[in-house]
């Protein structure tokens, strides 16, 4: 059985905030926490509750697994490249 102490969560909060130009204060106000708490979550110094995780994901209009993961996230460029390659396979170019 895995103990809760071993569970570590990775997140894309900082990336999402930067991408959408949302300050830590704005995000904190939207989800009802102190701005410092957002910082602790971003730096993985605090394992947040499921309820707060849902609030954060819903603020960005994303699913939970798009924002939080138990494994480190791949760089977005890699994911985009892979998504592009699978799209090409699905829709072969007609000559």
């Amino acid at each position: 059985m895995t103990s809760t102490k071993e569970v570590e969560f990775y997140n894309r909060l900082k990336l999402l905030r930067t991408e959408r130009s949302v300050s830590r204060k704005e995000l904190a106000e939207a989800v009802g926490v102190h701005p410092q708490t957002i910082g602790y979550i971003e730096r993985r110094q605090y394992n947040l509750s499921l309820s707060l995780a849902f609030r954060l994901a819903s603020y960005f209009g994303l699913s939970l697994d798009a924002v939080f993961s138990q494994r480190p996230f791949e760089p977005l460029s890699n994911e985009t490249l892979r998504a592009g390659a699978s799209q090409k396979q699905a829709d072969p170019v007609e000559l």
Partner: protein, 154 residues
């Protein structure tokens, strides 16, 4: 009445002055000063003559340190749960848990030292006061000492 007090406290702990006390390198000296002020009260209790005046004077730094500790921790030990978020509540609960263990060990050590030294009555009273004052603020001191810094700004 209680709501007004909490409102005032909430504004104080989120003021610009409180912001300046958030860094760990500012919180730790306050913890050391708190311990020293508790020692000072112990010494004042052990002083001869006008003991009450000495104790009253020695209490001022202790209360000042307690206020600074509260500001540096954004009032997590003073404000009600409704005014705190889940991280702040977690920090507070962890500090209480650690402080409980610390207080037990601290009391055993102090009782042992006091019995070995075979102190007189004022001396015993001074050690007991020091123990009480330290344990009373132990959760705040532990949280202020150990809470990680939050450097990022945007």
């Amino acid at each position: 009445m209680m709501g007004n007090l909490q409102d005032r406290m909430f504004r104080q702990v989120n003021s610009a002055f409180a912001d300046r006390l958030q860094r760990r390198n500012r919180r730790r000296p306050i913890v050391v000063a708190t311990l020293l002020s508790a020692v000072l009260i112990g010494l004042a209790l052990n002083a001869g003559g006008d003991r009450i005046v000495f104790v009253a004077l020695a209490s001022l730094p202790y209360w000042l340190c307690m206020h600074l500790l509260n500001l540096s921790l954004r009032g997590i030990f003073e404000l009600s749960d409704e005014r705190l978020d889940e991280h702040q509540v977690a920090v507070r609960n962890n500090a209480y848990k650690t402080a409980y263990g610390f207080a037990l060990v601290f009391m055993v050590v102090l009782v042992t030292v006091a019995s070995v030294l075979d102190l007189d009555r004022p001396g015993t009273f001074a050690v007991a006061a020091f123990a009480f004052l330290t344990c009373a603020l132990a959760p705040r001191m532990i949280a202020a000492w150990s809470l990680e810094d939050n450097h990022d700004v945007d």
